[in-house]
């Protein structure tokens, strides 16, 4: 690996060599400030920040995951605007994307860590199994748990990409056999940004990294450490079917008359009202559509434990636990108690009346 010069070129200089002008930065910045809803006019500042920044070293760790997050993030970038994100970062380790493998790959990770000590960003997709010493997932003989701790130790920040890394996701679904845990349950002394979603919206990832590179600080986060720019509103807040919700027009199934007329999907289990994500505005696959637009309710994939909310097709307003037998039992027990109480009361009345008539008989 070539020794980095004392001062690496700025991104502006780097891209200029490849014939990319500052207009490209400005364009990218207008795009990002639009999707992140940054204050009006911040595009210019963002563009300058990006152009004057140096490439950000990124070490990408993949743990208990399905590679869907990497798929989502890499597939969405065409060779135009959105691909600029890959010019902003120097992806020093990503065992799915990098050419090197085995020992060589691990060496690259260690080299990047040593070179950029305290300055690199760790991106994690996948949950970390913690049960039985973390033996359920290992890379090159090292458990995910140990690798995460070692890599995060000298990191600037950690970005947990996808619901598995952010909240434990599907590996953590009941009964969670591997003791899967979210990144922020393990790393507690570093700034952590969660970008949940199954998979997460690529623009969110691009936006957060660009913000980090350009402004040198974390974007504003919510109580679950999600960037508010993308997770500030619910799907329901921005859903185009919302007028149907308000009018009480609901599809009862996926192919009934209501569904064909595009009515609200609340009754078929839509979790949009409690799901914070940007699908309804940014949409997917380059703005083509998002689940609700394609006729399916929101699964709530960017929320903690979305897998264990009683079922994807169960309406939000229903109870989560089985009640039938318990309620039947309660009714029987209540009836028995009532009958018992009435019986006791009758006996009391009878004995009272007996005493009364006895007393009256005495008087006579």
């Amino acid at each position: 690996m070539p020794q980095e010069p004392k001062l690496a070129p700025t991104l502006g200089e780097l891209l200029q060599e490849r014939g990319v002008s500052r207009r490209a930065f400005l364009k990218y910045a207008s795009y990002l400030s639009a999707v992140m809803a940054l204050p009006a006019g911040s595009a210019t500042a963002l563009a300058e920040g990006l152009a004057n920044a140096r490439r950000q070293s990124v070490i990408w760790l993949s743990f208990q995951e399905c590679t869907g997050c990497t798929e989502s993030l890499t597939r969405s970038f065409s060779p135009t605007l959105e691909s600029l994100i890959f010019d902003l970062i120097s992806l020093d380790y990503h065992h799915t994307l990098q050419a090197a493998s085995g020992e060589a790959a691990e060496k690259a990770r260690e080299a990047a860590m040593a070179e950029n000590k305290g300055k690199y960003v760790v991106v994690v997709d996948g949950a970390v199994p913690t049960k039985d010493g973390g033996l359920y997932s290992t890379i090159a003989g090292v458990s995910n748990l140990d690798m995460l701790k070692a890599t995060a130790k000298d990191a600037l920040a950690v970005i947990a990409v996808g619901t598995c890394a952010a909240f434990g996701g599907i590996p953590k679904a009941r009964p969670n056999p591997t003791g899967a845990a979210a990144i922020d349950e393990i790393i507690t002394d570093k700034p952590i940004i969660n970008i949940p979603g199954c998979p997460p919206i690529p623009e969110a990832m691009a936006g957060v990294v660009s913000y980090l590179v350009s402004f040198g600080k974390l974007p504003e986060l919510d109580h679950l450490r999600r960037p508010k720019a993308f997770f500030g509103e619910t799907i329901h807040d921005r859903c185009y079917r919302r007028p149907f919700y308000e009018r009480g027009l609901f599809a009862e199934g996926f192919d009934d008359a209501g569904a064909r007329q595009g009515w609200c999907l609340y009754k078929v289990g839509c979790k949009g009202p409690v799901t914070y994500n940007a699908c309804a505005t940014l949409k997917w696959n380059g703005g083509v559509s998002f689940p609700i637009q394609s006729g399916h309710g929101c699964l709530g994939c960017s929320e903690p434990d979305f897998w264990d909310q009683g079922g994807f097709y169960r309406p939000l307003s229903t109870n989560l636990r089985e009640m039938g037998p318990a309620l039947a039992g309660a009714a029987l027990a209540g009836a028995a108690l009532g009958a018992g109480a009435a019986w006791a009361s009758r006996r009391h009345q009878e004995s009272y009346q007996r005493d009364q008539s006895a007393a009256e008989g005495d008087k006579k």
Binding site: A330, G334, L337, A341
Partner: protein
């Protein structure tokens, strides 16, 4: 476990069990008591007990002439409150879904916007009821803790439901959880206080009708 999961899960389960147990207990406890509580012979020309019971239930639905002026507010406000509650509870789509999930029964809903409006009216009527109660020395004298608690536990679900619908004051999932928890509190208190009148009023009015009828008293 998030607050919403707790509310939709264990909280609702426990509250429903207490509600069903308590309500059936009181219901059967009262109905299995001896029915003939009027030892005296019925007056001559007294209506049959069934007719008297029926009359007791119906006649009490409107104030007596002499009381019309004084009692009108209570009656009108009471009707607004009760119809409002019934509409909000039973004709709001998410509520019907809840009932359907429990019982399998369902029926058409009203437009959500209309239900919100009714909810606001219901709340206004609850507040008006309390003000009326507090301003009347007699009502204040006969009001007990039960009355105020029952009032509060009725108000809270309406209030939190409206806030949730309007996304006001907190994040929606928190508002929804608080709404469900307020219903849990309502359900738990229901069998043990005056809220139980929802099940009992028919029987108590009928009993009054029968007693009065046997004594030949005009209702």
């Amino acid at each position: 476990m998030t607050l919403l999961e707790f509310a939709r899960g264990p909280a609702l389960q426990v509250a429903m069990i207490i509600f069903v147990l308590g309500a059936t207990w009181r219901f059967f406890g009262a109905l299995l008591l001896p029915w003939r509580l009027v030892p005296a012979e019925p007056r001559k020309g007294a209506p049959s007990p069934i007719a008297a019971a029926f009359k007791g239930v119906v006649v009490k639905m409107w104030p007596h002439k002499p009381f019309q002026k004084a009692g009108m507010f209570t009656f009108v406000n009471g009707y607004i409150l009760h119809f409002g509650l019934a509409i909000v509870v039973f004709l709001f789509a998410p509520h019907i879904l809840f009932i359907k999930g429990l019982t399998g029964l369902s029926w058409p809903a009203l437009p959500s916007n209309l239900v919100y409006t009714v909810g606001v009216i219901t709340m206004a009527s609850l507040v008006a009821g309390l003000v009326h109660r507090l301003r009347s020395p007699v009502l204040r004298l006969i009001s007990r803790f039960d009355d105020y608690l029952s009032w509060l536990l009725t108000l809270l679900p309406v209030l939190t439901g409206l806030l949730a619908a309007a996304h006001l004051g907190a994040r929606y999932e928190t508002l929804l959880a608080v709404h469900i928890l307020s219903i849990c509190a309502f359900l738990i208190w229901f069998p043990f206080g005056k809220l139980m009148h929802a099940f009992m009023f028919v029987f108590s009015r009928a009993m009054t009708g029968v007693r009065m009828g046997q004594r030949g008293a005009e209702l």
